[in-house]
Symmetry: D2
Amino acid sequence: MTYLSFSNQKVLDFVAIGRLCIDLNANEINRPMEETMTFTKYVGGSPANIAIGMSRLGQKTAFIGKIANDQMGRFITDYLNRNGIETENVVTDLSGAVTGLAFTEIKSPTDCSILMYRDNAADLKLTAGEVSEDLIARSKMLLISGTALAKSPSREAVFQALHYAKKHGVVVAFDLDYRPYTWESKEETAVYYNLAAEKSDIILGTREEFDMMEVFDHNPEHNDSITAAKWFDYAAKIVIIKHGKDGSIAYTGDGASHRAKSFPAKVIKTFGAGDSYAAGFLYGIMQGWTLEKSMEFGSASACIVISSHSCSDAMPTTNQVHEYIEDCNSGKITAS
Amino acid sequence: MTYLSFSNQKVLDFVAIGRLCIDLNANEINRPMEETMTFTKYVGGSPANIAIGMSRLGQKTAFIGKIANDQMGRFITDYLNRNGIETENVVTDLSGAVTGLAFTEIKSPTDCSILMYRDNAADLKLTAGEVSEDLIARSKMLLISGTALAKSPSREAVFQALHYAKKHGVVVAFDLDYRPYTWESKEETAVYYNLAAEKSDIILGTREEFDMMEVFDHNPEHNDSITAAKWFDYAAKIVIIKHGKDGSIAYTGDGASHRAKSFPAKVIKTFGAGDSYAAGFLYGIMQGWTLEKSMEFGSASACIVISSHSCSDAMPTTNQVHEYIEDCNSGKITAS
Amino acid sequence: MTYLSFSNQKVLDFVAIGRLCIDLNANEINRPMEETMTFTKYVGGSPANIAIGMSRLGQKTAFIGKIANDQMGRFITDYLNRNGIETENVVTDLSGAVTGLAFTEIKSPTDCSILMYRDNAADLKLTAGEVSEDLIARSKMLLISGTALAKSPSREAVFQALHYAKKHGVVVAFDLDYRPYTWESKEETAVYYNLAAEKSDIILGTREEFDMMEVFDHNPEHNDSITAAKWFDYAAKIVIIKHGKDGSIAYTGDGASHRAKSFPAKVIKTFGAGDSYAAGFLYGIMQGWTLEKSMEFGSASACIVISSHSCSDAMPTTNQVHEYIEDCNSGKITAS
Amino acid sequence: MTYLSFSNQKVLDFVAIGRLCIDLNANEINRPMEETMTFTKYVGGSPANIAIGMSRLGQKTAFIGKIANDQMGRFITDYLNRNGIETENVVTDLSGAVTGLAFTEIKSPTDCSILMYRDNAADLKLTAGEVSEDLIARSKMLLISGTALAKSPSREAVFQALHYAKKHGVVVAFDLDYRPYTWESKEETAVYYNLAAEKSDIILGTREEFDMMEVFDHNPEHNDSITAAKWFDYAAKIVIIKHGKDGSIAYTGDGASHRAKSFPAKVIKTFGAGDSYAAGFLYGIMQGWTLEKSMEFGSASACIVISSHSCSDAMPTTNQVHEYIEDCNSGKITAS
C-alpha cells in the first residue's frame, strides 16, 4: 500500500530548503579534538546531505538556500553543481555573513561530538522573498529541515516555501533536525515546529525531537501513538519516530505501524546516519515502494555513511545500497 | 442569517491578547505637538481598547498580556480591573521592559498623528508558556491583534493562543492592526499575518492592510472579492475590508457582501475609530444579529469615540450606542 | 585664591555636551504616579539643565548634542534657542531614535522618583565626527556629563570633545551624573569615568558616584581626601564631593577643603538640585569668585529650583539668586 | 643610546593582553581556498604570536586573555603552557562564546588573504575585573594589541591593564594591529586607539594604521615626523612606522629616526611577519641593544617566520635568529 502519490507532471523530483554549511572532519580520529591537528573540508548541513543523497540516488534535485560571499560559500555551490544539483535558487548573502562550520570530534565510534559555529551564519539569512515559487511548483517533493526555522528571516523563508508547496500540490517532508543551541527556548521551538508540522505530509524525527514539540501537550509517557495521531489530524500521512539503536517506527494514518530490519556496519562515526536514512527512505517512497522496503533501503544507506569518514561525500548510489544489502544478506558484511 | 455560533457552555464571552499601552493625549489640541504643553494619560493599545469596549457593552471579558513592572503597568491593570475585565493572565514583566507609549498629536480633526515609543515594550515580551489554556478554553471568542505578532516572544504567544482556541472551539477574530514601525520588512509581516489569518474565523482590516498581506500573491487590482475568497479556503466565515470614508464591506463564504449605513459625528480626532467599530461589530455578532445590524452598531460606536478626547475611556455602553443611533435617525445629531 | 583661569580670547563662555531629553512632570503631586492623570512637558537632562542655568545667569552658552527627528526633538531645539543657547551643533538623528523621557513621581518633597525611557535615545547617537572642534575651541569652559559616556557612539563623542578641549586650552568640568540603568556593569562605568576624569579640571559628584569610580581602587573607608588626591595627580584643580544634606566639600590641589553655608527652602521636589547647584557654582568660578562664594551661589540656585515644579524652566537669573540669598539672610525665607 | 629602562625588581619580562585564536592554515597552498581540502590548526592572534616569540627568545612571559570553553580553547592554553608561558590569567568564558578562527589562503607568496570568524569570539569577552593587577605589577613590559580594543568588555580590560601598567612602572608597547571588520567605524577606532596610544611608551604600526588614527587630525601628506611628534607629547619614547617593503623607521623623542638593514628570505607567505618583527625588536630593546640592532634582529626574526608554514609555531629561538643573520651575511641565504 502506498500512502502518498506524486505528480508525474513535475520535472524535478526533489527540492530541499535550509542549511548549507562546512564540515571540518578530524583527520586524526579516536582522540579528543584538542589533539587533532588537521581537518578535511566537506559540504555539510542536514538538508544539504539529504539533497546530495537524493541526487546520488538518481533523483533530479534542486536546493534553496543562502551562502556566504566567500571561499567557503563558493566551494559549497561548486560541490552541489558537481553533484548534479540545481543551484539557481542558492542565493549569495551580501550582508557579511559567514558560512556555518561544524568541527567533528571522533573519540570513538560511539563517542562523537560536534563543535558548531553558527553565529552570523549565511544560511539563516535567506528571506521569504528569495524563495522561488516556480522552483517549488516544478518539484514533486519539498524537504524542510528544522534548523532553518531557528531564526528570522530563514524562518519566514521556510513558511513561505511551505505555502508554495501546499498551493502547488508538492509533497512536504519535514526532517526535524533540532539543534538546541540556535534556539532561544523550547517554547519558541515547539511553536514553530508545530506550525510547520501541521503542513507536512511526512514527518521524521527522534523520540526526543517529538518530545520537544510536545512541551505544551499532555503525553507524559511519550507514547508514539499519541504523538503520531496528533499529526494525522492535520496533513500528515507518515510519521517516523526514531528510537536510536532500537530502530525506527513508521506510523500511518490507518493506525498501522511499520518496522524494517537493520543491517550490520563497521562504524567509524555516527554523524550522517539520519541524513542518509532520510535520503534512502524518501527515495523508496518516491519509487512507490512499501514503507518497509523504503525503510530498509534507508537503513542500508545509513550504514554506508557511518562506515565512512564524511557525510555528504559518502552518500551512496542506488547500486551501492543494493550491493550493501546483498552483502549483508550473504553474510559478507558483519558487525565490527 | 448567522455565520458563526458560540458555545453556551463557556462562562466568558470575550478574551483579547496583545498590546497594553499608555496613550498620552494632547490637552491643547488643534496645534502641532511642539506647542502642546500638557498630556492626559489613558490606557491604550488596540486590543485593550476593544476589550474595554466589549466590557462596557456588557460582555464578560478577560485579557492576556504583559505589563511593565512600574507605575504605568500598575495603572493599566487597575484600569482594566475597574472596568470589570479579568486580569489574572496579565503577567508582569521582570526583565526591565517599559510600557509602550503613544503621544497623540491632533492638528485638526482630519490631521492626527501618533508618536510611538515601542522600544523594549513589555507587551511584546509575553511568552507562549505564559498564555493560559484554561482561560481561552473558557471563552466564546478570542481576539488577536496584528501588532502582537511583530516580535518574539509575543509572536509565539499569539500562535499558541490560536492553537488553544482551535483546540477548544473558540471563535477567533483577527484585527489586523498593522503598525509598520515594529516590523523588519513587509515580507516578514505578510508571512506571519497569513499564518494567523489561516486560523481565524473573522478577519477585520483596511484595504491597505490586506494589500500588505498579499505581497506574495497576485491581486494587482486589489480586488476585495479575490482577497476575501482566499480566506474562505481556510477557516474564515467573515472578512471585513474597510475603505475609510467609503465605508466597510463584510464578505461571507456564501459569496455575499454586506454593507451598513453610516452616521454623522462631530469629529475631534480619528483615533480609536477602528477599535470601537470592532467592539460594536463583534458585540452584535455575539448577540446573533445580522451582519448589517452588527456593522451599524459598530459604526455608531465608532462615532461616539471619535467625538471624544480619549479612545479607551470613551468606549460606550449599549444604551449609549442605541441612543446615538436614535439621535441620528431623529436628526438630533448631524455632521459638524 | 582662584584655582582656574579662563581665556579672554574666547567668545563663548560655556558649552555643554550630552543628554537632551524631555521631563514629563506630574501635575497632580504628593501621590503615586499611578494616580497622576496629567503631565507637563519640559526640556530635561542634566547638561541641558546646566546649560539653561548658565544662559539664564548671563553666560554666552552653546550645546553639543543630538535630538530625535520628531516633535519632541524640535521642541527641545526651540526651547534652547528661546533661552539664548547656540544650537548649531545640536544634530538631528536620522536613524529613527526617539527622545529620552523622564516621568517624575512626587509622592512627597523627600520621596521622589523618576521613570526613565532611555531605549534607542537620540542623545546617545551623537558621533565623534559630529562634534565641532571649532565650537569647543571658541569656548572658555566645556561641561561633560557622565550619562553621555554610557553608550557608543556618544561615548566616543565625549572623548573627542575632551581631546579638543585639551588641545585648545578649554577648562573641563565633569558632572558625574551616574545613572546605573544605562550601563552594562560597574566595571565598565568605572573605566570610562576614570578615563574622562583624568582629563578634567573640575570634577563634581556625590560620594556614591565617586565610590563607583573606585571599584578597582583601595579606599575602604570612602575617604574624601584619598578620592580627591587621586585626581590632583592628573589634571584636576577642584574636586567637589557632595554628601546630600550634610553639604558639599570642595577639595583643591593645595590640600585645602572648602565648605559653604546652606540655605532654607520650601521644597516641592528634589529633582534638579544638582544641576542648578552646578550652574551656580560654575558661574561663580567663571566670575573669579572664591570657592566659598561660588558654592554659596550654587546652593541658593539649587534652593530656587527645588521650590519649583520644573527643573530647566525654573533655572534662576543672577538677580533671582542674589535676591534669594538676601531673603534668606534677612529671615524672609525660612525652611518649610 | 637606550630610550627605555626596565625594572630589575620584576620577575616577569613580558606580559601580553588580547586575542587568542586559532589559525587554520591551508595545507595545499598556491591555490584559491575553494580548492584547499585540508587545514592545519595552530594557535594564532597577534599578541599570542608575539608572546610565543618572546618566550622562544628566552623571556619569562605571561598572557592575559579569555578562551572559549571548548576543545579549541583548551588547545590554546595547552600550547601556551607547553611554550613556557604563564596562563594563570587566561580566563575561560562561560557565556557560550567561541574561539576566533582565521583560515588562511595562500594563492602565492605575495597574494595571501585571511577568512576570519570573529562573531561571538571569546577573546573579546575579557572584562576589566578579570585582569590581574598583580601579574602586570610583576612584569617589565606589557604588550597591548589594537584588536582587543574593538569591543566591550575587552576594550575596558585593555584600559584597565594600561592603568595598572602606569601605576606600577611597567613599560607599555602598543602593537596597532588594526582589523577593520571588528570595528563599527573609523571614528570609533581612532578615538580608542588614541586614548590607548597616549599611555604607551612604544607604538608600532604601519603607515596605514597611523593614518586611521589621524582621521580627526591634520596630516594631509601622511608625514611620519608629524605622526611621531604627536605621541612624544604624551608618554611615547619610540614610535615605529612600517612602510612595507620600503622598511620600517623608528622615531625617537630626541628627533632622531633610525633604520635597519633588511634580509633576504624564501617567502612562503606574508602572515606573521609583523608579529615576529615585534617579538625580535622588543627582545632587543629589553636587552639594552641599540634601536638599529633591535630592528635588525626583528627583521631576521620576521624572515624566518615568512619562510615557514605557520606563524606561532615558527617563532624562532635566539640562536636561530643569530644563525639566520650570519647565513645572510655569509651569502648562504639569498632571496628566492
